[in-house]
């Protein structure tokens, strides 16, 4: 074998085995994580140093129970594995298993082995063996499996070096032979004929190709049609698949009989006692589940959980958000006063600083949302929600699994759309993708937050509930309700075929690991900030340019005003204000805003809001940043105030009252609730549905709805 310094290693395993934590542990934080927060839905890669001259490129594959796919997520795994002997080959595959469900994990392992790729079995959560009363004879297990086995405890950072050694050993020895030889047990003659068609591949690989119509990229057309031809003449594919699985379990039971023993009566420490209570048959699975999935209490609890989440977002985040807002306003004026006057200073104080402020201000709300989603998933409650909601969601053409994208959508539609990949029915998945952007994502939050703060009084109702918080909650409900109504319409009208299959594992209830939750929140928030941040910052700079440049009329502003007011008794301060305001009106962006003003006037908006709307079509949150830029260009530098104060003092010249009054505010809230204003989401929907048809339907459908509803709201209220 030729000596090479970089090898490819793929991680594969059931969901909930700690595979992603292992990936983090091996590659550190400098991985190429999918750009978006959310569970492992995309191929993630990172590098890890195995030993002095040997580096590994590690790929984290989506979690799966078996190679045989029932969802898009799982077909990615199959595709990668079938390609593993081509140039994109994996030199070693690490199957991550957890000690508790070893039997079920070994099914996947046995399938991988039969692909005849060098494999390491890594058994995670080994630290829990003792208190769960499990004993495992590693030496014997290695012998029976004919494979390296490593015990790991990723949470405690144990066994990582041993795993690296095992990867290196397995790579050098390149042992690769099937574990089960299923062909001999089912219909040897049939499988011999299959092998004859194409001896280049192992029997199991050929078997997977014909059962799933999934082929390696390198296969020639003749080879492919020969296999398809063979498939069309086979009658018993399904029966053989069943036999195969049963045979695999027989083999696994045989192996585990002598190596894996469980004595549940042994156990210790406080955490494990709590864990023991949660996983106890009577308390955990009977009592807790009786409450969480109860016909009435289950829904009340779920609704209460949502209420707590949304109330917290508004309450906990408001103080840090105000501080951030004020902090950036101060920084901006400080820079303006202390740097020499000029284009660069103006770019920094009016373009870049407000732009960055517009990104940072998200952190409190996003972090709180991710914190709750992470907690719900870690504790195992999320699966119960799926169980509770499945029948209801099916009436709307979705699946219980659609609840997770819809809730994740409250953070960001991008990971939510990607999280639909584990929904097996195409129609259920498509509807979920199409309606998810109606849920209130965190990019809408800053918009809602500032408008609510302007038009809704900060009062308590019934002594406890905050009126502003309630308004926000109503907007969330509006978003969900619209998503549901849209889903019903799509369910009735879409003529899309596809069978769906639903099975959800209900994991043990467990106390969340606060370290895991913390890392999760930090990573997701970081990914979001840097992903969305680039768009926000670049748009801020473009806006600054458009607002501080213009055609000839822009350049003449100063001269005209100075000439016009020369005989009036006006203070220099007043004149400066008039110049700034007139300049904005005549700048490029002012011209853009004015040209759409006739269209948006019936909604109660002026050209300044028009500018914000235009830039929002790149990303909603830019609304706040845009207004910040517009008003900071406009305002006199002597009295820099926060954006909220600036918006509150904005006057509508037609009526002489506040621009952001109740009807305009409500109209804007409705517009932002419905309109599809996120380029990034449209791009993801295009990628996930493999067609421009669906994102265009979203863009125009949602846009029309937004316009009509805002029009009605404004006309009724004003």
């Amino acid at each position: 074998m030729s000596h090479k310094k970089i090898i490819n290693v793929a991680l594969i395993g059931n969901p909930n085995t700690g595979k992603t934590s292992l990936f983090n542990e091996l590659t550190g934080l400098n991985q190429k994580v999918g750009n978006y927060p959310g569970v492992t839905v995309d191929k993630k890669e990172g590098s890890s140093k195995l030993q002095k001259n040997l580096k590994a490129i590690i790929t984290d594959l989506p979690g799966t129970y078996s190679i045989n796919p029932t969802s898009l997520d799982e077909s990615i795994v199959l595709k990668t594995l079938l390609n593993s002997k081509s140039e994109k080959k994996s030199d070693v595959i690490v199957v991550v298993a957890d000690i508790d469900n070893l039997k079920r994990n070994l099914l996947l392992f046995s399938q991988i082995k039969d692909l005849e790729i060098p494999t390491v079995l890594a058994i995670n959560m080994a630290d829990q063996m003792e208190r769960k009363g499990i004993t495992l004879d590693i030496k014997l297990l290695e012998k029976e499996l004919g494979n390296d086995v490593v015990l790991l405890s990723v949470r405690k950072e144990k066994g990582i070096d041993e795993l690296k050694k095992a990867i290196v050993n397995t790579y050098h020895s390149a042992k690769a032979f099937p574990l089960c030889n299923v062909n001999n047990r089912i219909d040897p003659a049939y499988f011999d004929r299959l092998k004859e068609i194409n001896p280049k591949y192992s029997i199991y690989e050929l078997w997977l190709m014909i059962t799933h119509n999934s082929f390696p990229d390198t296969i020639s057309r003749e080879e492919k049609s020969a296999l398809l031809n063979f498939k069309n003449n086979s009658k018993n594919l399904k029966k053989y698949q069943h036999k195969e699985t049963i045979f695999r379990y027989q083999k696994i039971n045989e192996i585990l009989k002598n190596t894996y023993l469980v004595d549940r009566s042994k156990a210790s420490d406080l955490r494990s006692i709590l864990d023991k209570i949660f996983t106890h048959k009577i308390f955990g699975y009977i009592i807790l589940d009786k409450i969480f999935t109860h016909k009435i209490f289950g829904y009340i609890l779920f609704f209460a959980v949502l209420l707590v989440i949304f109330q917290s977002i508004f309450d906990w985040a408001s103080l840090p958000m105000d501080l951030i807002d004020a902090g950036f306003a101060n920084l901006s004026s400080y820079v303006d006063k202390n740097l020499p006057e000029g284009v660069l200073t103006s770019l920094i104080s009016e373009g870049i600083i407000p732009g960055i402020g517009g990104i940072i201000i998200f952190i409190p709300q996003i972090a709180i949302l991710f914190l709750f989603i992470s907690l719900l998933e870690e504790t195992g409650y999320m699966s119960r929600v799926v169980f509770l909601m499945d029948k209801i969601m099916r009436r709307f053409g979705m699946s219980g699994k659609s609840v997770i994208p819809l809730i994740s959508g409250t953070a960001c539609a991008i990971p939510a759309v990607m999280a639909t990949r584990n929904i097996s029915g195409w129609k259920e998945r498509l509807i979920t993708i199409l309606v998810t952007p109606f849920t209130t994502c965190s990019a809408r939050l800053p918009v809602y937050a500032i408008i609510i703060a302007l038009i809704i009084p900060d009062q308590k109702v019934f002594g406890v509930l905050n009126l502003q918080g309630l308004t926000l909650l109503s907007l969330y409900i509006l978003g969900f309700a619209t998503a549901i109504i849209a889903a019903i319409i799509l369910h009735k009208t879409l003529n899309v075929k596809g069978t769906s299959f639903f099975v959800v594992e209900m994991p043990d209830y467990k106390l969340p690991s606060f370290k895991n939750v913390f890392i999760d929140v930090v990573e997701k928030t970081k990914a979001f900030i840097f992903g969305a941040g680039k768009i926000i910052l670049s748009i801020s700079v473009v806006l600054w340019f458009l607002a501080s440049n213009g055609p000839q009329s822009y350049k003449d502003v100063e001269k005209n005003i100075t000439e016009n007011v020369v005989h009036q008794q006006l203070s220099q301060h007043k004149i400066n204000q008039m110049i700034a305001s007139s300049k904005l009106e005549n700048s490029y962006i002012g011209i853009m805003g004015k040209s759409i003003e006739p269209v948006i006037k019936p909604l109660g908006y002026d050209w300044k809001i028009g500018i914000a709307l235009i830039s929002s079509f790149a990303a909603r949150e830019v609304f706040v940043g845009t207004l910040a830029t517009i008003y900071s260009v406009e305002s006199d530098d002597e009295d820099i105030t926060t954006i909220k104060q600036r918006m509150a003092s904005e006057i509508n010249p037609d009526t002489g009252t506040r621009r952001f009054n109740f009807p305009v505010g409500m109209s804007l809230l409705v517009f932002y609730a419905f309109a599809m204003q996120c380029m990034a989401t449209l791009a993801i929907v295009k990628r996930e549905t493999k067609s421009w048809k669906w994102p265009l339907i979203q863009l125009f459908g949602m846009g029309t709805l937004a316009y009509i509803c805002s029009f009605i709201v404004y006309q009724i209220l004003s």
């Binding site: 699985t245 639903f502 099975v503």
Partner: protein, 75 residues
């Protein structure tokens, strides 16, 4: 025909050999094998899906799937 869909909460049964070819592959792979003990733990509101424990795995499946899996009730 006795299937998982006809179990009462808390009732135990064994999956029979007869319906083997009707059991979706995915469920087989998750441990829903002939001979395995199955218990109905909870029925969701609106009577669907069903929450079962089979072969040590806790799973939620839809009623239409459950109705395909024949069982022998434990005495």
């Amino acid at each position: 025909m006795t299937t998982i869909a006809s179990l009462h909460i808390g009732e135990l049964a064994y999956i029979s050999e007869e319906s083997l070819n009707e059991i979706p592959l995915k469920l087989l792979e998750m441990g829903c094998l002939p001979g395995a003990e199955v218990e109905l733990i909870q029925i969701a509101p609106l009577n669907d899906p069903l929450y079962i424990c089979v072969n040590g795995s806790h799973l939620a499946i839809r009623k239409e799937t459950a109705a395909k899996i024949q069982i022998i009730k434990a005495k």
